[in-house]
């Protein structure tokens, strides 16, 4: 699941783009922080997006879930306010702060009104600089997280994703769920949480975007006040890791009427010449539209599923090409045959000139549509920074899509789609399917 969520962000980023009118400024605050800024004055609020690179992948050895628990505790008491006091203060300002963590980053998405901006930022600053991590709050939030972890244990889709990640990434952080396990979270101490804070939250890994009714000068002062006193350095980033699963089938028996499957193999890194061809290929194969090859073959022609999708994933520390599908137990074997067949056809025949042209029109046309609100734009701008793109990417990205030739894309198709390398992890009671190991 986490992988799917991460990939969705990526797809939006790559597919997205920029509406011509958007004017992104790169600013450096008097205190030396760098941020991307769009001034948009029609609605009296600001959307601020902060991302600390690394996120839960910076968990200390044996402390899986510590950064996730720490993140959830940031709004549970800070400075002179306990958890209730903090919530009351936030409600009185009608500000919104969303704290979340994932495999690649720790995110803070904030929205606040112009009329009480200074107070809303001061309150957020408390959460970031003076979190209390009170024992009673730790226990309360730990119990909530444990409840969620237990639910994961009986959710077929989650089980499939977790088993797939473990096969692919083993003991790298990507190989396990960032929220940890019942065991690891149960054993976390307050000292572990304080340590998690120093590992994950620091200026040397911070990306910032702000969109809304605020000038560059005002934003600079706001950011210096909010973030200037953060620690300078955090924990070192994890190593890059290769997708490690081999081809084959893994069946995890589960008593449920419909099997769910996760499948995939290694992918392609952003920034390499193969990336844009691979990105277009994935759109044609199963990138989310109703007219992808897999939707046509698996859903439209055979009625095997409600949905099948593939994701070209470029995470911070690895790349993969994965997909997910669910179908009744009796028809999973047939579904897998269709997926393998489409993989082989793609490698053998590539795409047609017409398919390439249609995908280009779709991708370049969809690009500007995503910049449709202060909050979404702020998220996109932080994602772009994380991927290492310049602000000008929004103007050059469509041209890079347009430049991909049929010859080039089919060369990449032959290398990228390797049906023998596909690992399927199936959770359910699929008929006529067995694990190969």
């Amino acid at each position: 699941m986490k992988r799917l969520a991460a990939s969705f962000v990526l797809l939006l980023l790559v597919a997205l783009p920029l509406r011509a009118e958007i004017d992104i400024a790169e600013i450096t605050t008097p205190g030396g922080l760098k941020a991307w800024h769009v001034e948009e004055t029609s609605i009296p609020f600001v959307a601020l997006e902060l991302r600390f690179r690394g996120g839960a992948s910076l968990d200390a050895p044996g402390k899986r879930g510590a950064i996730n628990l720490m993140t959830a505790l940031l709004e549970e008491g800070a400075g002179d306010l306990d958890a209730r006091g903090f919530a009351e203060a936030r409600e009185a300002l009608a500000a919104s702060y969303r704290f979340s963590t994932g495999d690649d980053g720790l995110s803070i998405s904030a929205q606040f009104l112009n009329e009480n901006r200074d107070q809303a930022v001061a309150l957020l600053r408390k959460a970031l600089l003076e979190p209390r991590f009170d024992e009673d709050a730790i226990e309360r939030v730990r119990a909530q997280i444990l409840a969620g972890l237990k639910r994961r244990e009986t959710d077929p889709d989650t089980i499939a994703g977790a088993a797939f990640d473990e096969l692919a990434y083993d003991d790298h952080p990507y190989g396990s769920y960032y929220g940890g396990t019942v065991e690891s979270v149960t054993s976390l101490t307050r000292a572990d949480i304080l340590d998690a804070f120093t590992r994950a939250i620091a200026r040397d890994r911070l990306y910032i975007a702000a969109v809304g009714d605020i000038s560059a000068e005002e934003l600079g002062a706001l950011l210096d006040g909010l973030l200037g006193d953060l620690p300078k350095e955090g924990a070192p980033m994890p190593e890059n890791v290769a997708f490690g699963a081999t081809g084959g089938i893994t069946v995890l028996p589960f008593d449920t009427p419909q099997s769910v499957a996760r499948f995939g193999h290694a992918g392609v890194e952003v920034g390499t010449p193969e990336f844009f061809p691979a990105f277009i290929l994935n759109t044609i194969m199963g990138g989310g539209g109703f007219n992808s090859r897999l939707m046509t073959e698996v859903r439209e022609k055979r009625g095997l599923t409600y949905g099948i999708r593939t994701y070209l994933i470029d995470s911070e520390f690895s790349e993969s090409l994965i997909g997910s599908v669910s179908t009744v137990n009796a028809r999973m074997a047939e579904t897998i045959d269709v997926v393998r067949g489409e993989w082989e056809r793609m490698a053998r025949e590539g795409v047609t000139a017409e398919e390439l042209e249609t995908a280009k029109i779709y991708l370049t046309g969809a690009y500007p549509l995503r910049f449709d609100g202060n909050a979404p734009i702020a998220r996109i701008l932080v994602n772009m920074q994380m991927q290492g793109y310049p602000t000008s990417y929004v103007k050059t990205r469509n041209a890079m899509i347009e430049a991909v030739t049929l010859e080039e894309i089919n060369r990449v198709a032959a290398r990228l789609y390797r049906s023998d390398d596909l690992r399927f992890v199936i959770v359910g009671a699929p008929e006529e399917l067995e694990s190969d190991e």
Partner: protein, 445 residues
């Protein structure tokens, strides 16, 4: 604290015109209603057609036909092949989809603003000219059965919600699942779909909503051109569904499923929804849900069950304000480790009883008002969501004026209004209480 907030509110009342969305409404000669929501920040438009037919409008025994028809609407017309609709949308850089609920079925596309005419041409075409090949119907029936397996059968919580609704609504069709009962879905035919289509898919049963970088004049011109020539249906009757009788006994439901990881408790009550020109009671219930549920750290249930003692790891209160017929008010409690569902229910009842005696905390009441007001400003950032707001309202018996009055109705709610509504709705004899657990016997011990 309170005085300060009152001062802020006074300031706000002076400036809502500036912050409010720009909305225009009109009606075509054939009865099709049109709503235009302007947002000129990006050259994008959301084009939606909402039909006043939902799962609660289905004939008996045909559950799921409204949703099935939604799927079949992508299967082609006299002039367009199956799947061509979505292909054309994608070829224009857009995205499209559709959704079905109890009171409506809606279709939408997001495209560059200069493609609006093409979207209207295609949507108008499939409003009256659908062609259904028998094989396409058979394959798509497999797809909706897979959808039911994914969304419902594979998820014990979803099965539990289905049971709860069926128990809450004994006479009204809201008790039947939107996607349909499996045995009835298996028997849905091409003729069933066409019967619903012929009767309900017509301009006088539809609402066009266009939101984004457009002007009302442009929309009026294009709508007249594309939708104007469509003939209205003479099969549109008032939506008088069977209503719920009074309840004379509390109903309880226990369900167990080994796939359940965390036991949970749900309580639902029948509750009135917003009525055109009379939204006050629904506004009071909206506040009640915020007071009782809402934030875990500040709500009545969060304080009593999560903060004061460790009875629950999760509590919430929910209320569906926008609904054609009576809606529900509900609570969810997930007990803490070692707490039984019986103990959790006792704690819920005690917290509710206490609230009925003491009433809302005045500071919290004012903070909720502030948040309701702010949410109107934040809502302007998402024009698609605004379009949905109008679509849901207009298919639920409300008008554009009701939608525009709603923020002010909310601001006028008093603590007395809330307690009056609470006393009326939180009536235990009409409640349904459900326990979901991995093993019923274990909980009974």
């Amino acid at each position: 604290m309170r005085a300060l907030l009152v001062a802020i509110l006074a300031l706000f009342l002076a400036l809502p015109a500036q912050a409010a969305e720009q909305v225009t409404g009109f009606t075509l000669d054939n009865g099709m209603e049109v709503v235009v929501i302007e947002d000129h920040r990006a050259p994008v438009v959301v084009h939606m057609v909402w039909y006043r037919i939902g799962a609660a409008d289905e004939p008996p025994g045909k559950s799921g036909i409204a949703h099935f028809l939604e799927h079949l609407m992508f299967k082609g017309t006299e002039s367009r092949a199956s799947g061509e609709f979505s292909r054309v949308v994608e070829a224009n850089g857009g995205s499209d989809n559709a959704f079905t609920s109890y009171d409506y079925t809606a279709y939408f596309q997001r495209v560059a603003a200069d493609r609006l005419g093409l979207m209207m041409e295609m949507e108008a075409d499939r409003m009256r000219n659908l062609v259904l090949a028998p094989e396409a119907v058979d394959t798509e029936r497999e797809v909706i059965l897979e959808e039911r397996a994914s969304r419902i059968d594979n998820d014990p919580s979803a099965l539990f919600r289905e049971e709860l609704r069926a128990t809450q609504y004994r006479n009204h069709p809201y008790g039947i699942p939107i996607i349909g009962w499996r045995h009835e879905m298996e028997a849905l035919s091409r003729e069933d779909a066409l019967a619903a289509y012929d009767r309900f898919y017509a301009p006088n049963n539809a609402i066009l909503i266009v939101a984004g970088d457009v002007t009302p004049d442009e929309v009026r011109k294009l709508a007249k051109q594309h939708y104007g020539p469509l003939a209205p249906s003479d099969g549109i009757a008032p939506r008088d569904r069977p209503q719920e009788p009074p309840s004379r006994g509390e109903r309880r439901l226990e369900m167990s499923d080994p796939r359940v990881a965390q036991p949970s408790l749900v309580r639902t009550y029948l509750a009135p929804a917003r009525r055109s020109g009379a939204q006050e009671e629904a506004a009071a219930l909206t506040f009640l849900a915020q007071l009782l549920g809402g934030s875990g750290a500040t709500s009545v249930l969060g304080n009593a069950l999560e903060f004061e003692n460790n009875t629950a790891v999760y509590t919430s209160a929910g209320y569906g304000a926008t609904s054609l017929d009576d809606s529900t008010f509900s609570f969810v409690v997930v007990p803490a480790e070692g707490v039984s569902l019986e103990q959790a229910e006792a704690a819920l009842d005690a917290a509710l009883e206490d609230f009925m005696e003491t009433g809302p905390d005045p500071d919290r009441f004012e903070r909720i008002k502030m948040q309701v007001r702010a949410s109107e400003i934040y809502a302007l950032d998402d024009v698609g969501n605004l379009a949905n707001r109008y679509g849901r309202a207009l298919t639920s018996g409300l008008t554009i004026a009701d939608v525009q009055a709603w923020p002010e109705v909310l601001q006028a709610v008093t603590p007395e209004d809330v307690m009056e509504a609470a006393a009326k709705v939180l009536d235990r004899p009409s409640a349904v209480t459900g326990w979901l657990s991995p093993d019923v016997e274990e909980d009974a011990q």
